[in-house]
């Protein structure tokens, strides 16, 4: 029998014995899918951890290795040169670049939160014709590539655009090397996302609370900032953090709207490039600067996460 049809005979009779460890694992996973899900979860987690954390590790490896030894790098640093974190501030006033980045980020965030709060109130709490189309318009604008605006905005902010009204010609102000040509485009670019976040949050605050505030003596605007915004704290924090990080990470406008000097409001990106001299490229200093530059945002996210997770609205109303 077995000679005539060996394949079927083996498979049918000796199934348990012929399976290896993988076969047994597959068998239990089919019977108990939770195991499969759990292992998939671990695989995905390890993948994301490695892909997000490895670059930081690599920066650390580069920073700790003296610059003259940076070639044919392995996974371990060739040396342990901690003075690089002091040298990076001596070679370039990196703290000023960081200060500039903070000023740009905070100004933009404040501006965005202010405008997005007003917009979010209107979209989230009022009913008017054309609301859907306006929302769609904001969504559409948020998908415009920022690079498309670069040249016209550069012309505008460097004072090269002039409008003639009759005999009077008004030329645009020269704002190059000031925060304005960065803050305004940033605000415009990052507004739509904040508007969407705040619209959802403000829309969920019960009407009764706003009415109560208005009867108690606030205007609509007062009710927005005294009641609706504090109660939407997680949403406002989310919008603010996302905006701040986006500005902190931004490249195009940050790079092109100033001459790259710390005194010209150039942010971190210019600072890192500033290390590159005519005759050398100190990779270790650049790596160290990158790590220092990332730290504030990492800390901000860790702190803000607590804030975002902790809901403030518990027990808001007896519904």
């Amino acid at each position: 029998m077995s000679n005539e049809n060996p394949g079927i005979g083996l498979g049918a009779d000796d199934a348990e014995m012929k399976r290896g460890p993988l076969g047994r694992w597959v068998n239990t996973a089919i019977k108990n899918p939770d195991r499969a899900y759990r292992s998939m979860f671990y695989v995905a987690m390890v993948f994301f951890l490695v892909t997000t954390l490895f670059p930081f590790y690599w920066l650390l490896v580069l920073a700790l290795t003296p610059n003259n030894l940076i070639s044919n790098m392995g996974l371990l640093p060739k040396g342990f040169n901690l003075t690089v974190f002091i040298e990076m501030f001596q070679r370039v006033p990196f703290h000023w670049y960081m200060f500039n980045s903070f000023v740009l980020g905070i100004t933009t965030t404040v501006l965005v939160l202010l405008i997005a709060s007003l917009a979010g109130y209107v979209f989230g709490r009022l009913r008017f014709p054309g609301k859907g189309i306006l929302m769609l318009g904001i969504l559409a604008i948020s998908y415009f590539p920022p690079a498309a605006f670069l040249i016209p905005l550069f012309e505008l902010f460097t004072g090269n655009t002039a409008i003639s009204i009759g005999s009077v010609t008004v030329s645009s102000p020269d704002l190059f090397n000031t925060p304005a040509p960065m803050v305004f485009p940033f605000s415009a670019l990052f507004l739509p996302l904040s508007i969407f976040i705040l619209t959802t949050f403000y829309g969920q605050i019960p009407d009764g609370l706003e009415d109560a505030a208005r009867v108690e003596g606030t205007t609509r605007l007062g009710a927005l900032f005294r009641v609706i915004v504090p109660l939407s704290a997680p949403g406002v924090a989310t919008a603010g953090v996302l905006t701040f990080i986006s500005v902190y990470n931004e490249f195009f406008f940050s790079f092109l709207m100033n001459n790259g000097e710390a005194g010209s409001w150039a942010p971190i990106v210019a600072g890192i490039l500033k290390y590159q001299g005519q005759f050398d490229t100190p990779f270790n200093l650049m790596a160290a600067a990158s790590i220092v530059g990332v730290l504030p945002v990492a800390i901000l996210v860790i702190i803000a996460q607590e804030r975002i997770v902790s809901g403030l609205t518990a027990g808001a109303l007896k519904e």
């Binding site: 009415d211 109560a212 009867v215 108690e216 003596g217 606030t218 109660l231 518990a314 027990g315 007896k318």
Partner: protein, 395 residues
């Protein structure tokens, strides 16, 4: 001061009319209940007094000021909301003092006023708590304290007790009455619960589908309802209604006839009328001596009994096919009658009984327009004049 006047006020939302030509005059210090079924426009009316909604037409006056388009903060009103609406991010002290702080009172004055308000609603020692640490009744009291702390001319209360449990609701009802006595300000109170309206108010304004149906003291609304709607809405359980016609001999319907002289109460022969009689004005034949002016005897069969403790509701079938279904508040069901008898009465289900009506308590309404024609057939000499004209003026 605290008198409120609405003149020809209407509110339209697109094609929907929420409030239709409302005229109201509320005296200073009065406790008025706006009562009506859900969606009748009573809350919209209140919002227009508060300024949260701007009327489409008409004018609103508070005191001697025209306030139709003023924002709520400038109207000198305070409001207690159905969902209580305490600011969840502030403690009790901050909640109560919210309005005062906005008006830049000094710290000592705020402190003094908050403590007095907390004293009135018995909230001493809880000023540091957050709203989510308090019970429903306590929160409601904070909301009331927040309203009274500013000494407003007018109090608006939008179903403030709707979310409390039954026992607390009865308790808060008496507290509100005490508060009204103490403060002596105008209170406008919205509710869909006619029992609340009956027990608390000086006058009840009954509203249906955006129109004012009747505004009168509670007992007048109960005893002399201006129309079918008011008759059916005020009183629980609701009034019995039977459709019939006026003949030379009085009211005639399929099962029940009530004798009277049509000329004497000013009803034309041949008019389609609806007769209304409250359950407590239907008596068993054994209790005939309690009725000064009984009607004909009516044969009926008991259907379902609802013993309430202090009384028994008896559903009576006037014909074999009748079903016990009196859910519809204003529904006219011609072959059934609801009777309330004292708890020691000896009745059983599915028993043949004979009942009589108290003729002085029979109401007649025009079936077509719903207007009241007469309240009490024997006492019509006194009754027909006053309520008849009132019904006219209110519509």
């Amino acid at each position: 001061m605290g008198d409120v006047k609405l003149e020809h006020v209407s509110k339209h939302y697109g094609d929907v009319t929420a409030v239709d030509d409302m005229n109201l005059e509320i005296q200073d210090g009065e406790f008025i209940c706006l009562v009506g079924p859900s969606g009748c426009g009573k809350s919209t009316t209140m919002e227009m007094i508060a300024g949260l909604t701007i009327p489409s037409e008409g004018e609103v006056f508070i005191g001697d000021r025209e306030v139709t388009n003023l924002p709520p903060k400038d109207r000198g009103v305070a409001m207690v909301f159905q969902n209580i609406a305490l600011f969840p991010h502030m403690n009790v002290y901050d909640n109560i003092s919210f309005g005062l702080r906005l008006r830049n009172y000094d710290k000592e004055e705020i402190q003094r006023r908050v403590e007095r308000a907390a004293d009135v609603v018995q909230l001493e020692g809880m000023l540091e708590r957050m709203p989510d640490e308090m019970s429903g009744g306590q929160r409601q009291r904070v909301a009331i304290a927040r309203a009274i702390v500013r000494n407003p001319g007018v109090f608006l209360m939008d179903e403030p007790l709707a979310n409390l449990d039954a026992k607390l609701r009865v308790h808060m009802r008496t507290e509100l009455q005490r508060l009204h006595k103490e403060l002596d300000t105008t209170i406008i109170y919205v509710t869909h619960d006619q029992a609340e309206a009956m027990t608390m108010s000086d006058r009840i304004a009954v509203i249906d589908s955006g129109r004012l149906q009747q505004i009168d003291p509670p007992l007048v609304c109960y005893n002399e309802p201006a129309n079918l709607f008011v008759a059916g809405f005020i009183g629980s359980p609701s009034m019995n209604f039977l459709d019939g016609e006026v003949t030379d001999y009085g009211f005639e319907s399929t099962y029940i006839n009530v004798e009277f002289d049509p000329a004497e109460i000013g009803v034309e022969v041949g008019t389609d009328v609806t007769m209304g009689i409250r359950p407590e004005d239907v008596y068993l034949i054994e209790d005939e001596r309690q009725v000064a002016n009984p009607s004909h005897q009516i044969d009926a069969m008991t259907d379902v009994l609802e013993p309430m403790g202090d009384e028994i509701f008896v559903y009576l079938k006037l014909s074999e096919e009748a079903h016990a279904d009196l859910e519809d508040a204003t529904g006219v069901i011609n072959d059934q009658l609801l009777m309330s008898v004292s708890p020691d009465t000896d009745v059983e289900e599915d028993e043949d009984v004979t009942v009589i009506l108290d003729r002085t308590r029979v109401h007649l309404f025009d079936t077509e327009t719903g207007k009241a024609l007469s309240h009490g057939i024997e006492s019509m000499v006194q009754a027909s004049g006053a309520p008849g004209t009132e019904a006219e003026s209110d519509d």
